[in-house]
């Protein structure tokens, strides 16, 4: 399990913010990390939908896109989703440059990273739950 976790860092999926989250987890919130990640994914899903819609508009409203992407960036920064965050940054640069093409491309890449990380998380948390029965506790509301 630890190796799975380590690989998330080594492969650049996560940064130290994730460690911060782990440090916040305590007896009062034994599932804190998972709760936060779940919450983050729920929220980012909504944001990605927003972006998808905004990207269908013509002409593109770069301000709007940028603002959505900023939210997504904030969201992914909360769990230390390094790769996703990097794509967000890139996307915003394309917004600034007014490159619709760049935005589309980056957005596809972003979604890929987003999903990939999600899978990793799922696997990791499942493993964790199996490993430590004490942590089965309560799932997020």
């Amino acid at each position: 399990m630890n190796t799975v976790r380590q690989s998330l860092f080594h492969q650049g999926f996560l940064d130290e913010q994730f460690v911060q989250l782990e440090e916040l987890q305590d007896d009062a919130n034994p599932n804190f990390v998972e709760e936060v990640v779940t919450l983050c994914y729920r929220d980012s899903h909504r944001l990605i939908l927003n972006l998808e819609q905004a990207l269908q508009k013509s002409p593109l409203d770069f301000n709007q896109l940028d603002s959505y992407m900023q939210q997504l960036k904030g969201s992914s920064s909360s769990i230390g989703a390094k790769k996703v965050k990097a794509q967000c940054t890139l996307f915003r640069e394309y917004c600034k440059a007014g490159s619709g093409e760049g935005c589309f491309r980056t957005f596809q890449q972003l979604k890929k990273e987003h999903t990939a990380l999600k899978r990793k998380f799922e696997a990791y948390f499942q493993m964790k739950r199996q490993a430590g029965p004490s942590q089965i506790a309560s799932r997020p509301k």
Binding site: L24, N29, V36, L39, D43, Q70, G74, S77, S78
Partner: protein, 584 residues
Amino acid sequence: MENGFSSPRSDAFPIGLRVLVVDDDPTWLKILEKMLKKCSYEVTTCCLAREALSLLRERKDGYDIVISDVNMPDMDGFKLLEHVGLEMDLPVIMMSVDGETSRVMKGVQHGACDYLLKPIRMKELRNIWQHVLRKKIQEGRDIEGHDVIEGIHILRNVADRYDDSQFLRGEELFSVRKRKDIDKHEDKDFCDTSSTKKARVVWSVDLHQKFVKAVNQIGFDKVGPKKILDLMNVPWLTRENVASHLQKYRLYLSRLQKENDPKACFVVGMKHTDSCSKDGDGNFGLRSSLAVPQNDVTNSSFSFSGDNFLLQNVDSIGCEVDRKRVVQEHTSEPKRAAARSVPEPIKSRCTQMKFNNSIHSVEPEGKFAAFDPSNRSCYPWVEAPEIKFKQESKPLVHLEGDFNQFPPTVPPHQVQMDPLQSISSISSGRSATEKDIANSIESKPPYSEDCSQQMVHLNLPKTPTDSFSGKAKSFNEMNDHFDPNSTTTAPMGKNQNFNLSCISTDLGSGLPFATIDEDLQGYLLQDGCYPKDLEHQIIQFPDYGDPGIFTEVPTHLYDAMRFGYDYSYDPTEYPVIDEGLFIA
């Protein structure tokens, strides 16, 4: 926790600090909540700015500090910041994933006490209590401006922060300044707050409306706390409350204006610290540190403190690029050049004096100085027209019996004497900007002459052009210039030792004055120059220069006036120094 921080002396502080977190991102909200709880703070979260605002309005004294995201769908975080600043007067920390300087600057300009970048770390949050405490301290000073803070001041030494950066923003400076410094002084400052605590006035929408109405009625140019207070007719409100709010309001307006005027100068924050020798013999220690950032605007503050005597001086200099314009302004509108001052009777128990001097630049458009960003630090708390000076009137000098009998013989001086006063306050302002002066030297005979003369007094070897051309230099000059003159006023005639040391680390040089005796002598001897000097000035100082006494102070005022700056002084408003920089 019911009363959280309202009892700042509680040993528990900062435990139980009541924090309101506003962020539209639910994930961050959750994380921040957890983090803050781990710090033993009491956390309230909400995901909408409007909701936050109504929460704040509902429980008026329910929170100690607000942390808000910059980007929120329902209301711009800056807007929220503005509201909180005006209505609740709470410290607000902004946060964002965006660390662009322009964003951060906007936050600071809108009054954020800090700007945190996401991902936010626990250690950053743990320290937020300092903003609350700082505010308390400032409020304490707000109300009891004359209170004794036995030579204890928070070190506001910006020196180490000074670099060549274009803008030094006070807010930032303060928050970034060395932690050590804070800690060192924390305990003592802590005690001070307790004695100087005041009830926080919550500026409800209604109250604020009343306030705005009063301001409009009076006219922005002539507005003063007292007048507003009278017009508002709210019995429990004090002049200080109004003054403090007026200050914020002006800041607010100046920001608005600035947003529309990209050319407007940035505020340059100057922090100055001192802590002084407390020597019964009246030794004066003087230290000043300057950070002189930029060509456009310079705020500098000096303080002098010594045995029962603290003098805070702020020069805030706003300089317009168009110098001629300023001159015109000055000549055509003498009123504007007048110095204003509010003589506050100082109780004999007072052992601390505070001064704020600010010289407001006159905007090229002829707008009232209050719109100039440089005004952040000070406003003319004018009591009424009586205190306005006519152009040819003398600088107002408050004298204090302690030091000596000031002969009120100098007719052109307005000398106000209060038998009860045991402290002298000298208001003086020195205004100069490198550019300005340099220009003036070339183009405006009267100014240049003046400059050079002053130079001669102070730094004999230096040539005038030289002196104000470089930042560091110019400010050393100003230091030189300033120090002796401020001190001369006080203990004339007594044989006192002065220890003057100029610490201007940031400027890379300190010019220690060996002894003021010499300097004094120098001044006395050179005094003859003054009348001459003054004759060249637009403003006439006919009888100026009773040698023994006000050797130099008036010239500074003169500068202020001649430059067409508004000059203001109010001993009670010391905290504006801070507030200008650490916007509420």
